[in-house]
Amino acid sequence: MIQFQNVSKKFSGLDGPVSALDQVSLTIEDHELFGVIGESGAGKSTLLRFINALESPDSGSVIVDDRTVNQLSKKALRQHQKEIGMVFQQFNLLSNKTVQQNTALPLNLHRYEHPLSVDQVLEFVGLSDKKNQYPAQLSGGQKQRVGIARALISRPKLLLCDEPTSALDQNTTEEIVDVLKKAHQEFGMTIVIVTHELGVIKELCDRAAIMENGKVVNMVEVKRSSTARNVKPYRERAMEVLSHD
Protein backbone atom coordinates (compact mmCIF):
# COMPACT_ATOMS: atom_id res chain seq x y z
CA MET A 1 0.00 0.00 0.00
CA ILE A 2 1.20 3.49 -0.84
CA GLN A 3 0.01 6.43 1.20
CA PHE A 4 0.60 10.11 0.62
CA GLN A 5 -0.17 12.20 3.68
CA ASN A 6 -0.38 15.97 3.22
CA VAL A 7 2.57 15.97 0.87
CA SER A 8 3.83 19.34 -0.36
CA LYS A 9 6.76 20.43 -2.45
CA LYS A 10 7.89 23.77 -3.80
CA PHE A 11 10.41 24.42 -6.56
CA SER A 12 12.22 27.70 -6.96
CA GLY A 13 10.95 29.36 -10.10
CA LEU A 14 11.71 32.67 -11.78
CA ASP A 15 9.18 34.61 -9.70
CA GLY A 16 9.86 32.96 -6.35
CA PRO A 17 8.87 29.47 -5.20
CA VAL A 18 6.30 27.59 -7.26
CA SER A 19 4.13 24.98 -5.61
CA ALA A 20 4.61 21.69 -7.43
CA LEU A 21 2.46 19.77 -4.99
CA ASP A 22 0.10 21.19 -2.45
CA GLN A 23 -1.17 19.11 0.48
CA VAL A 24 -1.76 15.93 -1.47
CA SER A 25 -3.22 12.93 0.34
CA LEU A 26 -4.17 9.68 -1.34
CA THR A 27 -3.88 5.93 -0.97
CA ILE A 28 -2.99 3.34 -3.60
CA GLU A 29 -3.88 -0.27 -2.75
CA ASP A 30 -1.74 -3.33 -3.42
CA HIS A 31 -2.12 -4.85 -6.88
CA GLU A 32 -3.96 -1.79 -8.08
CA LEU A 33 -3.51 -0.30 -11.55
CA PHE A 34 -3.49 3.33 -10.60
CA GLY A 35 -3.30 6.29 -12.96
CA VAL A 36 -2.30 9.88 -12.32
CA ILE A 37 -3.40 12.25 -15.04
CA GLY A 38 -3.09 15.98 -15.60
CA GLU A 39 -1.61 18.62 -17.84
CA SER A 40 2.11 19.35 -17.99
CA GLY A 41 3.27 20.99 -14.80
CA ALA A 42 0.37 19.65 -12.72
CA GLY A 43 2.84 17.88 -10.44
CA LYS A 44 2.11 14.30 -11.42
CA SER A 45 5.70 13.27 -12.17
CA THR A 46 6.85 14.77 -8.88
CA LEU A 47 4.20 12.76 -7.08
CA LEU A 48 5.43 9.57 -8.73
CA ARG A 49 9.06 10.32 -7.89
CA PHE A 50 8.25 10.59 -4.19
CA ILE A 51 7.42 6.88 -4.16
CA ASN A 52 11.00 5.82 -4.97
CA ALA A 53 12.61 8.93 -3.52
CA LEU A 54 13.97 10.39 -6.75
CA GLU A 55 12.45 13.52 -5.20
CA SER A 56 11.61 14.19 -1.62
CA PRO A 57 8.74 16.26 -0.25
CA ASP A 58 9.20 19.48 1.75
CA SER A 59 6.51 18.38 4.17
CA GLY A 60 4.15 15.47 4.73
CA SER A 61 5.03 11.83 4.42
CA VAL A 62 5.07 9.13 1.78
CA ILE A 63 4.53 5.66 3.21
CA VAL A 64 5.11 2.50 1.21
CA ASP A 65 4.32 -0.76 3.02
CA ASP A 66 4.70 0.87 6.45
CA ARG A 67 8.03 2.46 5.54
CA THR A 68 8.16 6.23 5.52
CA VAL A 69 10.16 6.76 2.36
CA ASN A 70 11.30 10.29 3.11
CA GLN A 71 12.83 9.21 6.42
CA LEU A 72 14.83 6.19 5.30
CA SER A 73 18.61 6.03 5.73
CA LYS A 74 20.67 5.91 2.55
CA LYS A 75 21.15 2.18 2.81
CA ALA A 76 17.52 1.43 3.61
CA LEU A 77 16.55 3.70 0.75
CA ARG A 78 18.60 1.70 -1.75
CA GLN A 79 16.95 -1.44 -0.42
CA HIS A 80 13.57 0.20 -0.96
CA GLN A 81 14.48 1.32 -4.49
CA LYS A 82 15.77 -2.14 -5.32
CA GLU A 83 12.24 -3.50 -4.97
CA ILE A 84 10.65 -0.96 -7.30
CA GLY A 85 10.76 -1.04 -11.09
CA MET A 86 10.57 2.16 -13.09
CA VAL A 87 9.81 2.91 -16.71
CA PHE A 88 10.74 6.31 -18.16
CA GLN A 89 9.42 8.51 -20.93
CA GLN A 90 12.82 8.67 -22.64
CA PHE A 91 13.50 4.96 -21.96
CA ASN A 92 16.90 5.78 -20.40
CA LEU A 93 18.66 2.75 -21.81
CA LEU A 94 22.45 2.55 -21.87
CA SER A 95 23.30 3.05 -25.50
CA ASN A 96 26.63 1.24 -25.19
CA LYS A 97 25.03 -1.94 -23.87
CA THR A 98 23.07 -4.53 -25.80
CA VAL A 99 19.40 -5.25 -25.17
CA GLN A 100 20.44 -8.26 -23.12
CA GLN A 101 22.92 -6.30 -21.00
CA ASN A 102 20.47 -3.45 -20.47
CA THR A 103 17.80 -5.85 -19.32
CA ALA A 104 20.16 -7.56 -16.88
CA LEU A 105 21.37 -4.28 -15.29
CA PRO A 106 19.36 -4.51 -12.04
CA LEU A 107 20.76 -8.01 -11.44
CA ASN A 108 24.27 -6.56 -11.70
CA LEU A 109 23.55 -4.11 -8.91
CA HIS A 110 21.82 -6.28 -6.33
CA ARG A 111 21.15 -9.86 -5.38
CA TYR A 112 17.51 -10.73 -5.96
CA GLU A 113 15.73 -13.74 -4.47
CA HIS A 114 13.65 -14.82 -7.44
CA PRO A 115 14.53 -12.79 -10.49
CA LEU A 116 13.37 -13.71 -13.96
CA SER A 117 16.01 -14.72 -16.45
CA VAL A 118 16.95 -12.37 -19.26
CA ASP A 119 15.55 -14.86 -21.79
CA GLN A 120 12.25 -15.16 -19.95
CA VAL A 121 11.70 -11.45 -19.65
CA LEU A 122 12.74 -10.68 -23.25
CA GLU A 123 10.41 -13.43 -24.41
CA PHE A 124 7.67 -11.81 -22.33
CA VAL A 125 8.06 -8.41 -24.01
CA GLY A 126 8.58 -10.03 -27.40
CA LEU A 127 12.19 -9.08 -28.03
CA SER A 128 13.96 -12.44 -27.94
CA ASP A 129 15.34 -11.88 -31.41
CA LYS A 130 16.84 -8.48 -30.52
CA LYS A 131 18.94 -9.73 -27.63
CA ASN A 132 22.32 -8.76 -29.08
CA GLN A 133 21.31 -5.48 -30.66
CA TYR A 134 22.11 -2.04 -29.34
CA PRO A 135 19.36 0.49 -28.51
CA ALA A 136 20.32 2.64 -31.53
CA GLN A 137 19.17 -0.24 -33.75
CA LEU A 138 15.68 -0.37 -32.18
CA SER A 139 12.47 1.55 -32.79
CA GLY A 140 10.91 3.68 -30.03
CA GLY A 141 8.41 0.99 -29.09
CA GLN A 142 11.13 -1.65 -28.93
CA LYS A 143 13.28 0.58 -26.74
CA GLN A 144 10.41 1.04 -24.34
CA ARG A 145 9.86 -2.72 -24.24
CA VAL A 146 13.49 -3.10 -23.23
CA GLY A 147 12.80 -0.47 -20.53
CA ILE A 148 9.87 -2.57 -19.33
CA ALA A 149 11.88 -5.80 -19.46
CA ARG A 150 14.58 -4.14 -17.34
CA ALA A 151 11.95 -3.06 -14.82
CA LEU A 152 10.32 -6.51 -14.71
CA ILE A 153 13.40 -8.69 -14.42
CA SER A 154 13.61 -8.32 -10.65
CA ARG A 155 9.88 -9.14 -10.23
CA PRO A 156 9.13 -5.86 -8.48
CA LYS A 157 6.16 -5.51 -6.13
CA LEU A 158 5.67 -2.06 -7.53
CA LEU A 159 6.09 -0.68 -11.05
CA LEU A 160 6.25 3.06 -11.63
CA CYS A 161 5.66 4.37 -15.14
CA ASP A 162 6.49 7.98 -15.93
CA GLU A 163 4.82 8.98 -19.22
CA PRO A 164 5.79 5.61 -20.70
CA THR A 165 4.09 6.24 -24.04
CA SER A 166 4.52 9.98 -24.49
CA ALA A 167 7.50 9.66 -26.80
CA LEU A 168 5.68 7.13 -28.99
CA ASP A 169 3.10 7.23 -31.77
CA GLN A 170 -0.41 5.94 -31.18
CA ASN A 171 -0.08 2.39 -32.45
CA THR A 172 3.11 1.90 -30.51
CA THR A 173 1.38 3.34 -27.47
CA GLU A 174 -1.21 0.58 -27.69
CA GLU A 175 1.54 -1.99 -28.01
CA ILE A 176 3.12 -0.71 -24.80
CA VAL A 177 -0.23 -0.54 -23.01
CA ASP A 178 -0.78 -4.19 -23.91
CA VAL A 179 2.61 -5.20 -22.54
CA LEU A 180 1.91 -3.39 -19.27
CA LYS A 181 -1.53 -4.96 -19.01
CA LYS A 182 -0.06 -8.40 -19.61
CA ALA A 183 2.63 -7.75 -17.00
CA HIS A 184 -0.04 -6.91 -14.47
CA GLN A 185 -2.00 -10.08 -15.24
CA GLU A 186 1.10 -12.23 -15.05
CA PHE A 187 2.89 -10.77 -12.04
CA GLY A 188 0.13 -8.89 -10.22
CA MET A 189 2.30 -6.02 -9.00
CA THR A 190 0.97 -2.59 -8.14
CA ILE A 191 1.35 -0.28 -11.12
CA VAL A 192 1.31 3.50 -10.83
CA ILE A 193 1.26 5.23 -14.17
CA VAL A 194 1.61 8.94 -14.79
CA THR A 195 0.50 10.27 -18.16
CA HIS A 196 -1.34 13.08 -19.88
CA GLU A 197 -2.84 10.63 -22.37
CA LEU A 198 -6.43 9.84 -21.40
CA GLY A 199 -6.57 6.81 -23.66
CA VAL A 200 -3.77 5.10 -21.78
CA ILE A 201 -5.55 5.49 -18.43
CA LYS A 202 -8.85 4.39 -19.94
CA GLU A 203 -7.29 1.20 -21.32
CA LEU A 204 -5.18 0.32 -18.36
CA CYS A 205 -6.26 1.69 -15.00
CA ASP A 206 -8.80 0.78 -12.33
CA ARG A 207 -8.67 4.12 -10.67
CA ALA A 208 -7.11 7.49 -11.42
CA ALA A 209 -6.32 10.78 -9.75
CA ILE A 210 -6.80 13.91 -11.79
CA MET A 211 -4.31 16.61 -10.89
CA GLU A 212 -4.37 20.33 -11.44
CA ASN A 213 -1.84 22.88 -10.17
CA GLY A 214 -0.31 20.53 -7.63
CA LYS A 215 -3.60 19.31 -6.22
CA VAL A 216 -5.64 16.16 -6.70
CA VAL A 217 -8.92 17.59 -7.90
CA ASN A 218 -10.77 14.35 -8.64
CA MET A 219 -10.48 10.66 -7.94
CA VAL A 220 -12.28 8.48 -10.47
CA GLU A 221 -13.12 4.81 -10.89
CA VAL A 222 -12.19 4.18 -14.50
CA LYS A 223 -14.85 2.55 -16.65
CA ARG A 224 -12.90 0.39 -19.06
CA SER A 225 -14.13 0.39 -22.60
CA SER A 226 -15.92 -2.95 -22.97
CA THR A 227 -15.66 -3.30 -26.73
CA ALA A 228 -12.34 -4.49 -27.98
CA ARG A 229 -10.60 -1.48 -29.42
CA ASN A 230 -10.01 -1.56 -33.06
CA VAL A 231 -6.42 -1.00 -33.97
CA LYS A 232 -6.05 0.66 -37.31
CA PRO A 233 -2.79 1.11 -39.09
CA TYR A 234 -1.25 4.57 -38.81
CA ARG A 235 -1.93 5.36 -42.45
CA GLU A 236 -5.67 4.69 -42.10
CA ARG A 237 -5.90 6.72 -38.95
CA ALA A 238 -4.03 9.61 -40.55
CA MET A 239 -6.40 9.53 -43.51
CA GLU A 240 -9.39 9.48 -41.17
CA VAL A 241 -8.25 12.45 -39.13
CA LEU A 242 -6.86 14.54 -41.95
CA SER A 243 -9.48 14.03 -44.65
CA HIS A 244 -12.66 14.45 -42.54
CA ASP A 245 -13.83 17.76 -41.12
Binding site: N52, L54, L77, R78, Q79, H80, Q81, K82, I84, M86, F88, Q90, N92, L94, S95, N96, K97, L105, P106, N108, L109, H110, Y134, P135, A136, L160
Partner: protein, 228 residues
Amino acid sequence: MTDFLSTYLERVSEFAPRMIESLGETGIMLSFAMIAAILLGLPVGTLLFLTTPGRPMSNRIFNSMLNIIVNIIRSFPFLLLVVAMQPVIRQIYGRATGDSVAASFPMIVIAIALYARFVEQSLLGVPKGIIETAQSMGATTWQLIWKFMYVEARSSLVIGFTTAVISFVSYSTIMGVVGGGGIGDFAIRYGYQRYETDIMYTAIILIIILVEIFQRLGLKLAKSIDKR
Protein backbone atom coordinates in the same frame (compact mmCIF):
# COMPACT_ATOMS: atom_id res chain seq x y z
CA MET B 1 69.12 15.43 -56.16
CA THR B 2 70.78 12.12 -55.34
CA ASP B 3 73.65 14.11 -53.92
CA PHE B 4 71.36 16.05 -51.66
CA LEU B 5 69.58 12.90 -50.58
CA SER B 6 72.75 11.03 -49.75
CA THR B 7 74.21 13.91 -47.72
CA TYR B 8 70.92 14.26 -45.90
CA LEU B 9 70.74 10.55 -45.08
CA GLU B 10 74.32 10.67 -43.94
CA ARG B 11 73.56 13.53 -41.60
CA VAL B 12 70.43 11.87 -40.28
CA SER B 13 72.31 8.68 -39.53
CA GLU B 14 74.95 10.76 -37.82
CA PHE B 15 72.31 12.31 -35.57
CA ALA B 16 70.16 9.20 -35.30
CA PRO B 17 71.52 7.85 -32.01
CA ARG B 18 70.93 11.19 -30.29
CA MET B 19 67.50 11.47 -31.88
CA ILE B 20 66.47 8.03 -30.72
CA GLU B 21 67.67 8.83 -27.22
CA SER B 22 65.54 12.01 -27.31
CA LEU B 23 62.51 10.04 -28.39
CA GLY B 24 63.11 7.76 -25.41
CA GLU B 25 63.13 10.78 -23.09
CA THR B 26 59.90 12.03 -24.62
CA GLY B 27 58.52 8.54 -24.07
CA ILE B 28 59.37 8.66 -20.35
CA MET B 29 57.71 12.05 -19.87
CA LEU B 30 54.63 11.04 -21.86
CA SER B 31 54.28 7.75 -19.99
CA PHE B 32 54.34 9.47 -16.61
CA ALA B 33 51.78 12.01 -17.83
CA MET B 34 49.49 9.37 -19.33
CA ILE B 35 49.57 7.16 -16.26
CA ALA B 36 48.87 10.16 -14.01
CA ALA B 37 46.00 11.26 -16.24
CA ILE B 38 44.33 7.86 -15.93
CA LEU B 39 45.11 7.05 -12.30
CA LEU B 40 44.51 10.54 -10.89
CA GLY B 41 42.97 12.75 -13.58
CA LEU B 42 40.05 10.36 -14.04
CA PRO B 43 39.07 10.27 -10.34
CA VAL B 44 39.62 14.03 -9.91
CA GLY B 45 37.41 14.76 -12.93
CA THR B 46 34.79 12.35 -11.62
CA LEU B 47 34.85 14.11 -8.24
CA LEU B 48 34.49 17.48 -9.97
CA PHE B 49 31.36 16.10 -11.57
CA LEU B 50 29.91 14.30 -8.55
CA THR B 51 30.43 17.04 -5.97
CA THR B 52 28.71 19.78 -7.99
CA PRO B 53 25.61 20.91 -6.06
CA GLY B 54 22.58 18.87 -7.09
CA ARG B 55 24.63 15.77 -7.94
CA PRO B 56 24.98 12.56 -5.94
CA MET B 57 27.95 13.67 -3.78
CA SER B 58 27.01 17.35 -3.72
CA ASN B 59 29.53 19.33 -1.63
CA ARG B 60 29.81 23.00 -2.47
CA ILE B 61 33.02 23.77 -0.54
CA PHE B 62 34.97 20.73 -1.73
CA ASN B 63 33.80 21.34 -5.28
CA SER B 64 34.86 24.99 -5.37
CA MET B 65 38.24 24.16 -3.85
CA LEU B 66 38.88 21.44 -6.41
CA ASN B 67 37.78 23.76 -9.20
CA ILE B 68 40.09 26.52 -8.04
CA ILE B 69 43.09 24.19 -7.81
CA VAL B 70 42.47 22.79 -11.29
CA ASN B 71 42.03 26.29 -12.70
CA ILE B 72 45.21 27.60 -11.07
CA ILE B 73 47.28 24.77 -12.51
CA ARG B 74 45.77 25.20 -15.93
CA SER B 75 46.21 28.97 -16.01
CA PHE B 76 49.92 28.87 -15.08
CA PRO B 77 52.11 29.50 -18.12
CA PHE B 78 53.59 26.01 -18.28
CA LEU B 79 57.20 27.17 -18.27
CA LEU B 80 56.58 29.03 -15.01
CA LEU B 81 54.84 26.00 -13.51
CA VAL B 82 58.00 24.04 -14.25
CA VAL B 83 60.11 26.68 -12.52
CA ALA B 84 57.72 27.08 -9.61
CA MET B 85 57.78 23.35 -8.95
CA GLN B 86 61.56 23.10 -8.71
CA PRO B 87 61.79 23.19 -4.89
CA VAL B 88 59.05 20.57 -4.53
CA ILE B 89 60.69 18.25 -7.04
CA ARG B 90 64.03 18.64 -5.27
CA GLN B 91 62.37 17.65 -1.98
CA ILE B 92 60.72 14.56 -3.43
CA TYR B 93 63.19 13.32 -6.02
CA GLY B 94 66.49 14.71 -4.77
CA ARG B 95 67.19 16.71 -7.90
CA ALA B 96 65.03 19.00 -9.96
CA THR B 97 66.95 19.18 -13.22
CA GLY B 98 68.97 17.08 -15.56
CA ASP B 99 66.85 14.04 -16.31
CA SER B 100 63.48 13.13 -17.77
CA VAL B 101 62.14 11.73 -14.52
CA ALA B 102 62.64 15.04 -12.72
CA ALA B 103 61.05 16.75 -15.73
CA SER B 104 58.05 14.44 -15.49
CA PHE B 105 56.79 15.99 -12.24
CA PRO B 106 55.33 19.13 -13.86
CA MET B 107 54.01 16.92 -16.66
CA ILE B 108 52.16 14.82 -14.08
CA VAL B 109 50.61 17.88 -12.46
CA ILE B 110 49.38 19.41 -15.70
CA ALA B 111 48.21 15.99 -16.93
CA ILE B 112 45.96 15.51 -13.91
CA ALA B 113 44.45 18.98 -14.13
CA LEU B 114 43.95 18.86 -17.89
CA TYR B 115 42.44 15.39 -18.09
CA ALA B 116 40.25 16.02 -15.04
CA ARG B 117 38.51 18.77 -16.99
CA PHE B 118 38.05 16.54 -20.02
CA VAL B 119 36.59 13.83 -17.80
CA GLU B 120 34.18 16.28 -16.21
CA GLN B 121 33.04 17.40 -19.66
CA SER B 122 32.58 13.84 -20.84
CA LEU B 123 30.42 13.02 -17.83
CA LEU B 124 28.38 16.17 -18.39
CA GLY B 125 27.62 14.82 -21.85
CA VAL B 126 25.80 11.77 -20.46
CA PRO B 127 22.00 12.33 -20.50
CA LYS B 128 20.63 13.31 -17.09
CA GLY B 129 18.08 10.50 -17.22
CA ILE B 130 20.90 7.98 -16.79
CA ILE B 131 21.73 9.21 -13.28
CA GLU B 132 18.07 9.13 -12.39
CA THR B 133 17.75 5.61 -13.75
CA ALA B 134 20.70 4.41 -11.68
CA GLN B 135 19.18 5.99 -8.58
CA SER B 136 15.79 4.46 -9.28
CA MET B 137 17.48 1.05 -9.25
CA GLY B 138 19.09 1.78 -5.90
CA ALA B 139 22.63 1.93 -7.31
CA THR B 140 25.44 3.14 -5.05
CA THR B 141 27.53 6.08 -6.22
CA TRP B 142 30.31 3.63 -7.09
CA GLN B 143 27.92 1.58 -9.24
CA LEU B 144 26.55 4.76 -10.80
CA ILE B 145 30.05 5.71 -11.93
CA TRP B 146 31.32 2.34 -13.10
CA LYS B 147 28.18 0.69 -14.43
CA PHE B 148 26.42 3.73 -15.88
CA MET B 149 28.50 6.91 -16.33
CA TYR B 150 31.77 5.44 -17.59
CA VAL B 151 29.88 3.04 -19.85
CA GLU B 152 27.97 5.85 -21.52
CA ALA B 153 30.89 8.31 -21.57
CA ARG B 154 33.57 5.86 -22.67
CA SER B 155 34.16 7.01 -26.23
CA SER B 156 34.17 10.64 -25.14
CA LEU B 157 36.65 9.74 -22.37
CA VAL B 158 38.94 8.19 -24.98
CA ILE B 159 38.70 11.22 -27.29
CA GLY B 160 39.45 13.53 -24.33
CA PHE B 161 42.43 11.38 -23.44
CA THR B 162 43.71 11.57 -27.02
CA THR B 163 43.47 15.35 -27.03
CA ALA B 164 45.18 15.47 -23.63
CA VAL B 165 48.07 13.25 -24.78
CA ILE B 166 48.66 15.49 -27.78
CA SER B 167 48.88 18.46 -25.41
CA PHE B 168 51.35 16.44 -23.32
CA VAL B 169 53.55 16.06 -26.42
CA SER B 170 53.52 19.81 -26.81
CA TYR B 171 54.23 20.42 -23.10
CA SER B 172 57.11 17.93 -23.20
CA THR B 173 58.91 19.89 -25.91
CA ILE B 174 59.87 22.69 -23.53
CA MET B 175 61.29 20.45 -20.80
CA GLY B 176 64.77 21.13 -22.16
CA VAL B 177 64.89 24.20 -19.93
CA VAL B 178 65.37 21.96 -16.91
CA GLY B 179 67.47 19.42 -18.75
CA GLY B 180 64.63 17.01 -19.28
CA GLY B 181 65.57 16.35 -22.88
CA GLY B 182 63.09 14.94 -25.34
CA ILE B 183 62.61 15.26 -29.08
CA GLY B 184 61.45 18.89 -28.81
CA ASP B 185 64.57 19.83 -26.91
CA PHE B 186 66.61 18.01 -29.53
CA ALA B 187 65.00 20.08 -32.31
CA ILE B 188 65.76 23.30 -30.46
CA ARG B 189 69.32 22.51 -29.41
CA TYR B 190 70.70 20.73 -32.46
CA GLY B 191 68.47 22.14 -35.15
CA TYR B 192 67.67 25.69 -34.13
CA GLN B 193 70.57 26.80 -31.98
CA ARG B 194 73.25 25.11 -34.10
CA TYR B 195 71.65 26.05 -37.42
CA GLU B 196 71.23 22.42 -38.49
CA THR B 197 67.95 23.28 -40.22
CA ASP B 198 67.53 19.90 -41.90
CA ILE B 199 67.89 18.14 -38.57
CA MET B 200 65.43 20.55 -36.95
CA TYR B 201 62.79 19.77 -39.57
CA THR B 202 63.46 16.08 -39.30
CA ALA B 203 62.77 16.27 -35.57
CA ILE B 204 59.62 18.33 -36.15
CA ILE B 205 58.37 15.78 -38.67
CA LEU B 206 58.94 13.05 -36.08
CA ILE B 207 56.80 15.02 -33.63
CA ILE B 208 54.08 15.44 -36.25
CA ILE B 209 54.13 11.71 -36.95
CA LEU B 210 53.89 11.02 -33.22
CA VAL B 211 50.84 13.30 -32.87
CA GLU B 212 49.26 11.79 -35.96
CA ILE B 213 49.65 8.28 -34.55
CA PHE B 214 48.05 9.23 -31.23
CA GLN B 215 45.18 11.01 -32.96
CA ARG B 216 44.39 8.13 -35.28
CA LEU B 217 44.66 5.45 -32.64
CA GLY B 218 42.48 7.47 -30.29
CA LEU B 219 39.74 8.12 -32.81
CA LYS B 220 39.77 4.55 -34.01
CA LEU B 221 39.41 3.20 -30.49
CA ALA B 222 36.71 5.77 -29.62
CA LYS B 223 34.73 4.83 -32.70
CA SER B 224 34.96 1.12 -32.11
CA ILE B 225 33.53 1.37 -28.58
CA ASP B 226 30.77 3.84 -29.46
CA LYS B 227 27.41 2.13 -29.99
CA ARG B 228 25.26 5.23 -29.71
